[in-house]
């Protein structure tokens, strides 16, 4: 039996709600009185049962939602100060995801993956679509040299990489995350695809040993050198064991930034105006190309290692 209403609100609703929420637990007399009413009133029992079912269903419904990936942009407000631990992980993960998408161009990933992916790969998809080859790199026997910033370049000891059984299939300069990146595609002796990307190390990326990243469809490892960050990535299932390959390559693969070699010096000034960074003289040392922009705040900084699984 429902009692009279007060401002359209049943006193039974107030009492039943308090009972379900445990508010009466600290008042045994009130609780006992309510339970006596409960025993005599089927309508009140029904109300209490309905309230409990609502709570169970709500908790169950919303528990499912905690599993959803959080968009990377929600971590951006925190990056204005000291970077939170998760962002330190997601940055290389986003880079790795970008390389995975570059892998689409190399043909080792199906295009259908794009439609199914979640953050962070999704977050960089747009960026990749805007990415494009920005410059040819200088190929020399045993070395691949590419501009990474104004006046500096990276030199990859490609001969050492190939000595470990990998065959280079393609190399290019691209913008990834707004930064120039040297991207080299390899094949293992078994024909498996693997991609290596070398970028100038972002200022906020702390020193790290290789971190293994596994996303749907691809695996990647990310590690840093003094001034560069390396990402090795392969498709899941058909690719090589990325952890083993990283361990094998890491010692021999030690490209670093170097002063811009003379052959890379352009015959015209840089129009886009990359800032000099003190690593080497010679601002305006690489051709002005679309998409090759400055790197704000690009000052090497130490910090705690990012979270992740160290190899």
């Amino acid at each position: 039996m429902s009692r009279s209403t007060r401002n359209g609100l049943s006193p039974d609703a107030l009492e039943a709600s308090a009972y379900v929420d445990g508010v009466m637990d600290d008042d045994p007399a009130r609780r006992a009185a309510f339970e006596r009413r409960l025993a005599d009133d089927p309508g009140l029992r029904e109300r209490v049962a309905a309230y409990r079912r609502q709570g169970q269903a709500l908790r169950q419904a919303f528990d499912l939602l905690l599993e959803r990936p959080v968009p990377e942009r929600l971590y951006h407000p925190l990056e204005r100060g000291v970077l939170p631990a998760r962002s330190r992980v997601l940055h290389p993960l986003a880079v790795a995801a970008t390389v995975m998408l570059i892998g689409l161009g190399a043909g080792w990933m199906g295009a259908s993956y794009i439609g199914n992916q979640a953050s962070p790969a999704h977050a960089v998809l747009k960026d990749l679509r805007q990415g494009h080859i920005v410059a040819d790199i200088l190929s020399a026997e045993g070395r691949g040299t590419a501009p990474l910033a104004s006046g500096i370049a990276t030199a990859v000891p490609t001969a050492r990489v190939q000595a470990s059984g990998l065959t280079e299939t393609e190399r290019s300069m691209m913008t990834v995350g707004g930064r120039p990146a040297l991207v080299i595609d390899y094949r293992t002796p078994q024909g498996q695809a693997v991609t290596l990307m070398v970028q100038r190390r972002p200022a906020h990326l702390a020193d790290t040993r290789p971190i293994l990243l596994r996303e749907k469809g691809f695996s990647a490892s990310v590690w840093t050198g003094d001034t560069t960050v390396y990402t090795l990535i392969s498709p899941t299932g058909t690719g090589p064991d990325i952890a083993a390959l990283t361990a094998h390559l890491r010692d021999g693969l030690s490209p670093e930034t170097i002063p811009m070699p003379a052959p890379l010096t352009p015959d015209r000034p840089l129009a886009s105006g990359l800032p000099g960074d003190g690593l080497a003289p010679g601002a305006d040392a690489i051709p002005a190309v679309p998409g090759l922009g400055p790197m704000p705040g690009d000052v090497p900084a130490a910090g705690p290692p990012p979270e992740g699984r160290n190899l």
């Binding site: 049962a49 959080v70 929600l74 407000p77």
Partner: protein, 171 residues
């Protein structure tokens, strides 16, 4: 801001986003509200006091943001297109329950926004009446009445659960 606070904020983001969904009813608005709230929290981080927990502090900021900017964060079944609302949370059916998660979400979203917040904070997050009152900046009696009204409204919106319950008892 020290690292402990940063870590607390990062850990609270999934729960914050979930609360935003409960307030707004769709993921796009929820993410916008979450981002706005985080930006405000960063600006006001010097106001952080250690009592009550970081998550509660963020929840309080979010609720105020939501009320202040409700025209931007279109909530509720009343304002949202039915298709948009139904598709937004992408909930699976609750198993072994008398009602589907989609149904209970829709019923929650049909509540007035202040009742919805009270219902969410107490029933889902498990806050006490005192805590919910603090988070919504209202007297505790207001929390009580909002909860009771919300529960009665949801009960009316979900009559099938009672029918199911009766049938089960007959067996």
């Amino acid at each position: 801001m020290d690292e402990e606070v940063e870590r607390g904020i990062v850990q609270a983001i999934p729960a914050l986003r979930r609360y935003a969904l409960a307030l707004t009813g769709n993921w796009d608005s929820a993410d916008d509200l979450t981002q706005d709230s985080l930006e405000r929290a960063m600006r006001k981080s010097h106001q952080w006091r250690r009592h009550g927990g970081i998550k509660a502090w963020l929840f309080r900021i979010m609720y105020r943001q939501f009320l202040n900017r409700r025209r931007l964060f279109r909530p509720s079944a009343v304002e949202a297109e039915p298709d948009e609302l139904a598709a937004a949370p992408n909930l699976a059916n609750c198993q072994e329950r008398h009602m589907a998660c989609d149904d209970v979400f829709t019923a929650l979203m049909a509540l007035p926004r202040r009742q919805r917040a009270a219902m969410y904070l107490v029933s889902v997050e498990g806050y006490t009446y005192d805590e919910a009152a603090m988070l919504m900046d209202v007297p505790i009696g207001t929390v009580r009445s909002r909860l009771a009204r919300a529960r009665d409204a949801m009960r009316a919106a979900l009559p099938e659960q009672d029918r199911t319950a009766r049938l089960r008892r007959v067996k």
